[in-house]
């Protein structure tokens, strides 16, 4: 028992040491790249679990009626699900292309490989890294230009993106109201996000749009972040807080763009 424990502990210490001096980087990149197709396949199977269950129930009835019809239906269902997935992907990419055409930023398109394995952070891993020109602090957008997070770690072939809902996420932002209120968009423990440091005299109303302020060098101005869904204000305090409503759901994202200003 002691021998095995010592071997295990040594393996962990060596792995941590090699990770921080960078020797483990090629292996980590290899692992992420090698497993990404498996994860995507497993993800699509897992995501379509409910559909598969319904399909299985239908299939059971069809077996009783006609075996050949069942096979035909199975093929049709698979084709339909593939078509639907392609249609959704196409619509998403079209939106992103429209956004690219309208703006003069440089973009790097990336696919989300997976979420993260720890329960504390709210991040995703994308399949683009240092080799594609990405660096720490760049904004990541989805759909038609809605900011979803910032790059927090960059490796040669992949990067980690901290989502806006992560409780350590901070983005300098502006509310598109008459005062052009400036504040900080902060994550709320993976649940939502809010805008803090807003002076009490600023007029904010529900539905106001929140965009990036451009005060952070690596994040361009006017990237849409969220909508105001309420204001929390205590008279005795200097600042008030705007509760924000995300424009897109951060769960279940598939394709994103990293913005290089």
């Amino acid at each position: 028992m002691i021998k095995s424990s010592v071997i295990g502990l040594t393996a962990i210490f060596l792995a941590v040491f090699f990770h921080y001096i960078g020797w483990l980087r090629p292996i980590e990149s290899l692992v992420v790249i090698a497993f990404s197709p498996v994860q995507q396949l497993a993800g699509s199977i897992y995501g379509g679990g409910a559909g598969i269950y319904d399909f299985w129930l239908k299939k059971r009835d069809l077996v009783k009626e006609n075996r050949s019809l069942q096979a035909e239906l199975a093929a049709a269902a698979i084709d339909a699900s593939k078509f639907k997935a392609l249609e959704e992907e196409n619509a998403l990419l079209k939106k992103e292309i429209n956004f690219i055409d309208e703006n003069n930023f440089k973009f790097v398109a990336a696919k989300i490989i997976s979420g993260v394995s720890d329960p504390l952070s709210q991040s995703v891993i994308i399949n683009r890294g240092r080799r594609d020109g990405l660096e720490k602090g760049l904004a990541v957008i989805a759909d038609s230009g809605i900011m979803i997070g910032k790059i927090s770690e960059v490796e040669d072939d992949f990067s980690k993106v901290v989502l806006l809902s992560d409780n350590k996420s901070r983005v300098a932002a502006t509310i598109q109201n008459l005062d052009h209120t400036v504040g900080l968009v902060e994550g709320q423990y993976g649940l939502s996000f809010s805008m803090t440091n807003i002076p009490q005299n600023q007029e904010i109303k529900d539905g106001d749009l929140v965009v990036t302020s451009g005060l952070e060098g690596k994040i361009p101005k006017n990237l849409l972040i969220a909508k105001v869904a309420g204001v929390r204000s205590v008279e005795s305090e200097i600042f008030k807080t705007a509760i924000l409503k995300p424009i897109i759901l951060l769960d279940g994202l598939s394709y994103v763009l990293a913005v290089i200003p």
Binding site: G8, A11, A15, V16, E28, V32, G115, K168, G190, D251
Partner: protein, 170 residues
């Protein structure tokens, strides 16, 4: 054959856990498949394989983690060590109820080690993250899902093996 099975488990399970967790999905942190298999391995396999599984799957999970590298592997390794000590000294009776209690202790000890290492990493300046109430809420979920999976695993393994049969309690 056995070696390949354990190595495959250590590789496949973390990947599957990531898939279930999704991209910032609901089940992230609420289901810990690796821990469930670790508990079962402590019951059924040699300590060497338990350590190998905890270390390999932990390091693989660390590649995908937003926390300092080695933190998940360290937590799993310490949990494996604690569970093996407990199993060898206290949980000698393979009853269904002892397995459930063992599962509960496993989840609590894993999260205790994890929280301890997170706080240590924060104190030393390696990480910005500290557990929040939401994390402890996830632990409650983890207890429920782990116990459910343990019940499933107990009946599944019992259907083809005698390793989980109660030795003294019928």
């Amino acid at each position: 054959m056995k070696n390949k099975f354990y190595i495959a488990l250590a590789v496949v399970l973390p990947v599957f856990q990531l898939v279930i967790g999704g991209t910032a999905g609901f089940f992230n942190g609420r289901i810990n498949l690796v821990l469930v298999v670790l508990i079962i391995l402590v019951n059924l396999a040699d300590f060497y394989w338990v350590v190998l599984f905890a270390t390999a799957s932990g390091l693989l999970l660390d590649v995908y983690s937003g926390l300092p590298f080695g933190l998940l592997a360290g937590s799993l390794f310490l949990t494996a060590l604690a569970l093996s000590l407990l199993f060898n000294n206290l949980f000698s009776n393979f009853s269904f109820h002892s397995l459930l209690l063992f599962g509960l202790i496993a989840v609590l000890s894993y999260n205790l080690f994890f929280t301890g290492l997170v706080v240590l990493a924060y104190s030393l300046g390696f990480s910005d993250y500290l557990p929040h109430w939401d994390y402890f809420y996830k632990v409650l979920w983890q207890i429920a899902t782990t116990e459910l999976l343990m019940i499933g695993a107990y009946y599944f393994i019992n259907s083809w093996s005698k390793k989980f049969k109660p030795a003294f309690i019928t």
